[in-house]
Assembly symmetry: C2
Amino acid sequence: MQLKSQVEWALHCCAILGMLPPDRHLSAKALAEFHGVPKEYLSKALQSLSQAGVVHTTAGVAGGYRLARPAGELSFLDVVEAVEGRRSTFQCANIRANNPCRPADQCDDKPCAVARVMWDADAAWRASLAGVNLAGLAATLNDDLSRELLAASEKWVLDRAR
Amino acid sequence: MQLKSQVEWALHCCAILGMLPPDRHLSAKALAEFHGVPKEYLSKALQSLSQAGVVHTTAGVAGGYRLARPAGELSFLDVVEAVEGRRSTFQCANIRANNPCRPADQCDDKPCAVARVMWDADAAWRASLAGVNLAGLAATLNDDLSRELLAASEKWVLDRAR
DNA sequence: TGAAATGCGGATAATAACTATCCGCTTTGT
DNA sequence: ACAAAGCGGATAGTTATTATCCGCATTTCA
């Protein structure tokens, strides 16, 4: 079970978009070039972010993307769910219903005990993702990266932002 | 991103194996019939459990499986990792290295900030799974299911156990 | 006003992963 | 010796992921 590579791309794109001043935006082409990923396919991830309301899209020539809300109000979970969807990673096929000892007409008042545990774990995963927002990511990057790289990257982005 | 159906099967199989008295075991054929899943493919999941040390295998005619340890010492995580593997659900392709502003020879002293958050969430998921063991599952099932179904299922299993 | 750049949605492949089955082999109880 | 069982490898069928392409609508700018 692996998350799609688009999740990683979307998170890095949001980190970059968080560097933009309000009301400026960056194209899919620039984001793809910055991250070294195929533009057409990255566009699909950006479209998912747009549909989920994580980013705001500007159409037309010189169009592009910006964060739909302040970085402090956008969590990792928002981004991950935009790309991966909100369905639990565990799908219960209700195989308990195949128990040969079970009356065929029995109806279950509770979800399967196995599924409940798996869903709890899924909820813990999402809660962890919900606990980190893009402002926190920016702060971490600020600590991790050199002044030079940060400044150069910001310049690169702002030179291409509209 | 969906967990394999084999995860669900393996967990339900372990729940059944937990009903067996020590030193008795149940065949893949019986487990497959009980859960209404294809025997050949279920066998693959059981082989994974065996290789991971979750279950103990008895070879030869009248062979089969039993839990390798007491139910209280086997967690959901043990079962899930046996089938899904121990690799994180998030794979970092290190796309930060593609940043055009970055010197080509730069080496990173820390893992990518995005990956760290994703790995923390993965760890939270696994911690949640590690917090429930098969004895706890048995207790839950004991509360959830009717006396009749529990007794009938136990009889069905014991009739086929060796 | 028209050309160019951009995002969007659908269609289409290529690749990988998951699901499933089969077969020969070894082991073991009767 | 034989039958039933688990194991490992081989092989398909199906689904999901990755990737590309195309036409269309929108918008900027000359």
